[in-house]
Symmetry: C2
Subunit: 229 residues, 2 copies
């Protein structure tokens, strides 16, 4: 299911604390030790957890991609984040001791390792690296969201689309961006029709190339320029 090769290469571990968790999982796999966890494969479109449900543990993405979203009053989704292999989702609400305020859904077939709340929390108690890493992570995400809010408030949809595509280039990492128009619109925070018109503009300006769902970015520079700052 997971092996040293994947751990070191395919998973894009960005921080010490994530490495600590994956290290645990990996050693369990190999040596069968104490941290209970289980791998589950979610089909595209399957929910990991829903808004208002009770957090029971942490979802570590081994393979695949997961969108984190919130539904507005009229049911329209606002995508807050797209998590890829190596990332962990579902633990933020776990700390609040309240129900989830966001939902999580697999964007493609995803293999995910689940660690129960108790296990995760006790690991945190005994592991200062993990603990401090998580505090750092949460704080960084707060800064990112301040940015997100400011962008929403002050930038045009065109600017936000450019910004979003830059984020997605990173999420999809070399692959073409491959999302439904609706998800794309819900990440940018606009109507699907508006998104489509702007994609067309980008296409006509030669910034991107489109093959049905797949979007290839041809001119990253221009996106940076349009996104501003």
């Amino acid at each position: 299911m997971i092996d040293k090769f994947r751990f070191d290469n395919a998973l894009q571990i960005r921080s010490e604390w994530q490495r600590a968790i994956w290290g645990q999982i990996l050693s369990e796999q190999l040596q069968n030790q104490e941290l209970k966890h289980s791998f589950i494969t979610y089909k595209k479109g399957a929910q990991l957890f829903q808004e208002a449900s009770i957090p029971r543990g942490v979802y570590c993405i081994n393979q695949g991609m997961v969108k984190i979203f919130k539904r507005g009053d009229e049911g329209k989704e606002q995508i807050i984040h797209i998590a890829k292999a190596g990332e962990m989702v579902g633990f933020r609400a776990m700390f609040t001791e309240e129900p989830y305020k966001v939902g999580a859904e697999a964007l493609e077939e995803s293999n995910i390792c689940f660690i129960g709340k108790e296990d995760f929390l006790s690991l945190m108690d005994t592991n200062p690296v993990l603990r401090n890493g998580i505090i750092k992570e949460l704080s960084k995400e707060l800064a990112d969201r301040a940015d997100f809010i400011t962008n929403m408030a002050q930038k045009s949809v065109r600017e936000r689309l450019a910004f979003t595509m830059l984020i997605l280039m990173d999420v999809f990492d070399k692959q073409p961006i491959n999302l439904s128009r609706e998800d794309l619109a819900n990440f940018v925070g606009t109507a699907t029709e508006t998104l489509i018109r702007l994609l067309k503009d980008f296409k006509e300006e030669g910034i991107i190339e489109v093959q049905t769902r797949k979007i290839f970015v041809l001119q990253r520079e221009r996106l940076l320029q349009i996104a501003g700052k």
Copy 2:
């Protein structure tokens, strides 16, 4: 500067970890112990810290009110949060070990207790209540910001204004809301002129009463209804 009365009454302590800090400060005041800290009074408009500066510690608001904001590309502020007495600001960026991504400015004359980074971090190391409280706090704020983002993306300015006024009723706690039109607009995320027009609407609908800068909410129910959800 601070006494038992203020601690128990005037400061609105909302969580265990904040109580732990204020308890420390208070006991220092009384018994002159080890946690170094100093009280400073900031005039209205004074900066506690600026975007891009290096975090050096935590600011505990003893009296007053502080806006946390981010500047967009054209220099326009987006207010992310308004902190009141009892709250602590400036520690989130401290954890990231990066420069501040937001600025903080006193909205009125404010008395603030500063605790240096080292002192605060070592207190955290030895105090699990504080540590866990902070993790919980950061997680809750992440959820709030997901909300904020969704509101920005999906609600009209009118709806956001109603929502913002509800938040401000809590911040100003019984007092009339007293902010410049510009700050109000920058919190709602709109142009000052638009904000003014909408305030006028609210006034004409009998939802609020206005005395120059002071806004009195007459019909909280209607605000809830307009804000939606």
